[in-house]
């Protein structure tokens, strides 16, 4: 890779005028481009990644200017890709005085401009996976795409292994088929396993065909753990006491991002910060439920330097360059070292200066997790992702889209699909089943021959049956399926829309209830269709906030937490109360050592508890809880309930469990899982998503009025009928696959069950152990029903702790 490529003088002059030199990884990207090789650039934020990705394109366009020819397609996960690209692409082009045209194409691009782009394309097109996938449904796109030299995929780490990634990867396979000389370029933040991403990017999943370019590591980040007032609570989240100290940090820095894990915590943290905001510092909030206008406003205020801090969820995670952030605060546990590192990367975009970050753990397990994460970052240990096969609903959508542009022959299409890495292992039979679904719904009863969406022609190829279906497809394409939402509107008639909340949460609210949203306590004053009308209320909300999706603790952090616990010499790094906690656990029970599975049983208040220290993440523990209670029911142990955290599962029953081993047996797991999943609401939720993506059900387009005849139908009812009459249907299969990966972490559950059979350590105790206190307190909170007062809850918590520590 050492050959030097001559930089066009205009670029060299531009760099020189700024006193910059070409960086090594930029030169290597340039060389890969000159050699016509696919390339993956892995580099930390601030390394000039975007420019490095575009350098070969600029060099080629300078060497051989081509009028009105699309040269490079750039795909980003974000619609709002303008900021970063403005700085890293448009500004250099303007400053070098190049006549290279750059345009965006997203869902927001007006249709006349989209049409014009197909006729007279820019040199560089900036787009999203959805818009690219739509572009290839146009017959004239062949002409447009034939000469494209390069496709650049930004934020590869955020795409791979998602449905959007599947869609994009299939589109790349299509582009490659139209234009075999296409060069693929990926840009990624620091990742644990670059080879897996090289494979994802490569045609035919051939990782070796992709040149890996590693950026130089930036300065080591400085990550600290903040212990508010030196005490770590047993359970719960960071509270007001932490807000005061975080506020001090904000006041001492120019611009701070306060990252939180869920939208609910974002709201609480924002409120807490404002409660201690004595100097009225400008602090904003940003999460996915807020109205887009509100988010854009916050983003604009931030890049204009008008904010001192912003409380944000993952909606701010992706690689937008926010300028002068000099501190990142992570509230609560980071859950994974890769995610933490990407968040830290938001602070300070100059590679040679260290990024500064502070983790604020909310409870004792989170404290251990924070320390583990600091260690992982220092040792450059990153999480590895388990790649799953491409989704069949996305494949169905892609096949219909491809047919919209031109007829295709099944055999050739099968080969093309298999060249897309998520689908490299797709069996022919499953391809045919998917094609059959697109054609006529894929039902054994051939009822829909008259309504076929694809028609088999004499030459063995398939074409779309009716132009109306092409229109329909374009309207419904895309893989992001929003949950049913309700609008939060402040004021009555024609009020201002604050944002949206999930319908399941909104429909539980009654007039007079108050809840937290957009940093405000809001009181419900009325309902009007999908609108919830509110006024600003006072004091604490009466309805607890909704939960966002939560990522489970990664395996590598879980291992580190266990190792920290099992190594007494490490305890000196802990505050006194955590030290004492671990010490007492060691004395009264034992510490869960890596590679083993500690299970405690004890009686408390006439209930028998089993506490399993699985460290396999919340999803796996929740699933295990479901299975264990089923098994205990059958064994006559009268289970009463369970609660799972990222670290622990606790199950309680009326009868004692004397031997936990059979309850954890991995045998017949698949059957029981099937039984449980079939009865769970998750499967129906997954079904709704796959049915929309695959094109069985049309999207509800917000604002589009339903005509009288178009009575809607519920996807749940379709699910019930399908399950009864066609249990092997493709979409049930796809829903099942989704539910399994998303909700139950089967692989980690299996690993836990395997450990239980040969490495289980069972301690029968006469009372609750110190380590079990947090989960028992969680359980106490879940039991809150009507009459219980805060005082009663506090009394209960007090009793549990006193018992464990005495």
């Amino acid at each position: 890779m050492a050959e030097t490529v001559t930089l066009p003088p205009v670029i060299a002059d531009w760099l020189a005028a700024r006193g910059w030199a070409l960086r090594r990884h930029q030169a290597e990207m340039l060389a890969a481009g000159a050699a016509g090789d696919h390339a993956l650039l892995v580099a930390p934020t601030g390394a000039g990644k975007t420019l490095a990705g575009f350098l070969p394109t600029l060099a080629e366009l300078i060497a051989a200017p081509a009028a009105e020819r699309l040269h490079t397609i750039y795909v980003s996960p974000l619609k709002a890709l303008a900021v970063d690209v403005q700085r890293n692409l448009l500004a250099p082009i303007a400053e070098m005085g190049l006549s290279i045209t750059v345009e965006t194409r997203t869902g927001d691009t007006p249709s006349d401009r989209k049409l014009r782009q197909r006729e007279r394309p820019p040199h560089i097109l900036l787009t999203t996976p959805e818009s690219l996938s739509l572009l290839i449904t146009y017959p004239d796109s062949f002409e447009l795409l034939k000469g494209v030299r390069t496709i650049i995929v930004d934020e590869v780490h955020a795409f791979a292994n998602t449905k959007r990634g599947d869609l994009l990867n299939l589109a790349m396979a299509r582009l490659q088929a139209i234009n075999p000389g296409l060069r693929r370029v990926g840009l990624s933040a620091t990742i644990g396993d670059p080879e897996a991403y090289q494979g994802w990017l490569a045609p035919d999943a051939d990782a070796e065909s992709v040149t890996l370019v590693q950026g130089d590591p930036g300065a080591e980040p400085q990550v600290g753990v903040l212990v508010p007032e030196g005490r770590i609570p047993w359970t719960g989240h960071t509270g007001l006491h932490a807000a005061r100290e975080v506020y001090k940090l904000i006041a001492a820095h120019k611009l701070t991002i306060v990252f939180v894990n869920t939208r609910a915590v974002a709201e609480l943290t924002f409120r807490d910060l404002w409660n201690v905001n004595d100097d009225a510092l400008p602090i904003g909030i940003h999460h996915g439920s807020l109205a887009p206008e509100a988010r854009r406003k916050t983003e604009a205020a931030m890049s204009a330097g008008k904010l001192r801090a912003i409380v944000a969820t993952a909606s701010l995670d992706l690689g937008i360059d926010w300028g002068d952030v000099d501190l990142v605060v992570q509230m609560g546990a980071p859950k994974g070292s890769s995610r933490l590192l990407q968040r830290i990367g938001r602070a300070n975009h100059r590679m040679d200066e260290p990024s500064k970050a502070v983790i604020v753990p909310g409870n004792r397990f989170e404290y251990l997790e924070a320390v583990a994460a600091v260690d992982a970052v220092a040792e450059h240990e990153l999480d590895e992702e388990v790649f799953r096969p491409g989704s069949l609903d996305v494949l169905a959508q892609h096949l219909m889209g491809v047919a919209c542009a031109a007829p295709f022959a099944p055999e050739a299409m099968y080969q093309e699909i298999r060249s897309s890495s998520p689908y490299a292992g797709l069996p022919r039979e499953l391809f045919d089943k998917t094609l059959g679904f697109v054609e006529n719904g894929g039902y054994a009863l051939r009822a829909y021959d008259r309504f076929k969406r694809l028609t088999l022609q004499g030459d063995g190829s398939y074409r779309v049956s009716h132009p109306r279906m092409v229109q329909q497809h374009r309207l419904n394409a895309g893989v992001i399926v929003e949950a049913a939402m309700m609008n939060v509107v402040i004021g009555r008639r024609r009020g201002r829309r604050l944002g949206q909340i999930e319908e399941w949460f909104g429909s539980q609210l009654r007039i007079g209830d108050s809840f937290m949203f957009a940093g405000l306590t809001l009181e419900v004053t009325g309902f009007d269709g999908a609108d919830i009308q509110v006024t600003t209320g006072r004091g604490d909300p009466s309805v607890p906030s909704y939960m966002g999706a939560r990522l489970p603790l990664t395996t590598n952090l879980a291992d580190r937490v266990q190792a920290l616990m099992a190594t007494p010499s490490q305890w000196d790094r802990m505050p006194p109360d955590v030290h004492e906690w671990l010490h007492l656990q060691n004395e009264k029970s034992e510490l869960p050592a890596p590679g083993t599975l500690l299970v405690e049983t004890f009686e408390r208040d006439k209930r028998h508890y089993v506490v399993i220290y699985g460290f396999e993440g919340r999803n796996a523990h929740q699933t295990l809880g479901m299975l264990m209670t089923q098994r205990m029911e059958r064994a006559g142990l009268k289970p009463l309930g369970f609660v799972g955290s990222d670290y622990v599962l606790s199950v309680w029953s009326l009868e004692p469990v004397t031997d936990p081993k059979p309850l954890l047996s991995p045998e017949v797991l698949e059957d029981e899982l099937a039984e449980w999943m079939a009865a769970s609401p998750f499967l129906k939720k997954s079904f709704r998503e796959v049915a929309i993506i695959a094109g069985l059900i049309e999207r509800q387009h917000p604002g589009k009025k339903k005509t009288g005849q178009q009575v809607t139908f519920s996807s749940d009812l379709i699910y019930d009928v399908l399950k009864k009459y066609e249990p092997d249907h493709l979409l049930l299969q796809a829903a099942w696959a989704d539910a399994r990966t998303k909700l139950s972490d089967i692989a980690r559950l299996n690993s836990l069950l395997e450990r239980s059979q040969h490495a289980m350590v069972h301690r029968a105790l006469d009372r609750v152990s110190p380590l079990a206190v947090p989960i028992l307190l969680d359980l106490g909170r879940q039991r809150v029903e009507g009459e219980a007062t805060d005082d009663a809850l506090l009394a209960e918590a007090d009793a549990i702790i006193a018992e464990a520590m005495s």
């Binding site: 006529n440 039902y443 829909y448 069985l696 139908f713 379709i718 009459y725």
Partner: protein, 221 residues
Amino acid sequence: MSVSVLFGGHDFIPMPDAALYWPARGALLVADLHFEKASWFASFGQLLPPYDSVETLARLDSLVTASGARELWCLGDSFHDLRGIDRMPARARGMLDALTTTLDWTWVVGNHDPHLDGGVGGRVVDEIEVDGLLLRHEARPDETRPEISGHFHPKLRITVRGRRIARRCFVHSDRKLILPAFGALTGGLDAADPAIGRAVGRPAQALVPTPDRLLRFPLAA
């Protein structure tokens, strides 16, 4: 008997499967079957599972068997559209013919199937008075006689201990009784919706039959 309801001077049993049984006549009343709703959507490109008619008929058949009903009254919107009968798969058509020939069968027409013709078996009426009760598809607020109807697909939605429950229900007021939709793919309208309130008048209650009890939930005025 706790499972029955007195309406218009007659005893009725709302059944858990969205049908109303009239013991005195040995009659079953159902509303909004929406046969061939799936294939109607299929003709517009949404290829929903083509099993809704079979499923609806299978449920109807088992209710007839279990109750021993001799009469069957369909209160309108029996077909999702007037071409539905032509699209009905042979298996479903066979089940329907078997039922209409063995039972005293009446179709009351609805807004989805206004010109239903006799070719489907049974007799077709716009609306009808039976033993002092008016049977029609959509409740008329100006009707003074006791009236049984369908049309609204009422569904009770409540939250109990943080758990959301939605169940097909009957809506019952002094002079009106509205049946839930029976069809396998028929969705629902919140029983508390003002449209239902206007149709039945107040006070009204939602009736939810369970295997051993008839549950009654007052609907807000």
